[in-house]
Symmetry: C2
Subunit: 208 residues, 2 copies
DNA sequence: TAGATTGTTAATCGATTAACAATC
DNA sequence: TAGATTGTTAATCGATTAACAATC
């Protein structure tokens, strides 16, 4: 089976965004050299990336159909499925994610938040109910939950993740700035401000 | 000069976090095999990573001093410097970042926000003033600003970044889910929800 | 001394880039 | 046909892993 590296997977949303802009402009086909000029990837890499997910070849001299590429990418990225997610930790960052408008078009349905702060429990944020952490298992018994988005402080992250895993959630999107461990059948993606900032600051002070 | 790959730079904050936990527990030295067990990297990689930034060797049978490692890492990562940043776009995400408590210890001083929404301009968030976008140049004339954190909607990102660059800001931390272009002397780091989510979803539905 | 751990050098692996014939 | 672009195969590059002598 084809395998996809992390870097490669990270590029696909950029392609999709660009192709949607082309579609809006009424452009029907796009070639690798043109994509290369805009997105700054090499044209060979673009060809490989698009070959890996397309089920029909590109046409010499034309390139590929923008509509088909969008269709293929949205399917590949799971934007056509509905993945359900809960936010664990409804502080500022968790609340921002409860309000984030782009998850829906990415096929991610954020169905509610969990927190232990009594002044939050029972309220709604962006129409989504905030429940007590102890209610997570009740929700997962009634409804499939695919992803737990972890936005608790670093010191509480491992415990929150353990509870999510106990409740049968298989995907963890960890925003807490700390290393955590999960069983090997659980998929975890760390989305780490401090790692991203480390790259930025180093490049900034180091002249690349 | 030594070069550091993106992956390598992204690992350093995890080391630092872990070493600080050790320090809190009163542990004085740490070896690569032990780090490997906790963080899940290979011990060879850990040795290379720590060698690359340390100015004295590790001691056979002991490892390295936790205090010294923390000192070295904090200096290397720029946590001892003060990097100044402004938030451009003070919607939910921008406000969450204005309230994010961890930037300070990373050496990042968020000094204010910019937005064009008249109901936000003139207010304070977490003690930080929100100004009109047209005032950015006034601020940068008076004060060094190193980083612009871009939390505007995707369609407004390029314009916001162009303005930040015109104002002499050299570092761009882009949270908007879109590709943007910057002059070659500007450092940009994309922190992209859709890319991170793409990795998570693919691993989740693909059995790794 | 023995053993754990180090740093260095070589081997492997995987991703990106280059070369080029095929094709519309 | 000529030229742009494709897909494939080979070469390069860089990062990770393995091997192993050195050392406290």
């Amino acid at each position: 089976m084809k395998t996809f590296s992390k870097n490669q997977l990270e590029r696909y949303p950029f392609y999709l965004k660009y192709f949607k802009e082309l579609q809006k402009k009424g452009i029907a086909t796009i070639s690798s050299p043109k994509i290369a000029r805009v997105l700054g990837y090499s044209e060979e890499q673009i060809r490989k990336d698009l070959q890996a997910i397309s089920n029909e070849p590109g046409r010499p001299k034309k390139g590929r159909s923008v509509d088909k590429l969008i269709d293929t990418l949205e399917t590949f990225l799971g934007y056509r499925d509905s993945t359900t997610a809960v936010i664990i930790g409804c502080g500022h960052l968790g609340q921002a994610l409860l309000n984030y408008p782009n998850f829906k078009e990415m096929g991610l349905a954020v169905i509610g938040g969990f927190d232990n702060n009594p002044s939050l429990v029972g309220t709604n944020i962006n129409g989504k109910p905030i429940r007590s952490m102890s209610d997570l298992s009740h929700l997962t018994e009634k409804q499939k939950v695919d992803v737990a988005i972890i936005t608790v402080p670093a010191h509480a992250a491992q415990e929150a993740i353990d509870e999510a895993v106990r409740c049968g959630i298989h995907g963890i999107w960890n925003f807490a700035p700390t290393h955590v461990t999960v069983p090997c059948n659980i998929v975890i993606e760390n989305f780490n401000f401090s790692s991203s900032l480390a790259v930025l600051i180093h490049r900034l002070y180091d002249g690349r």
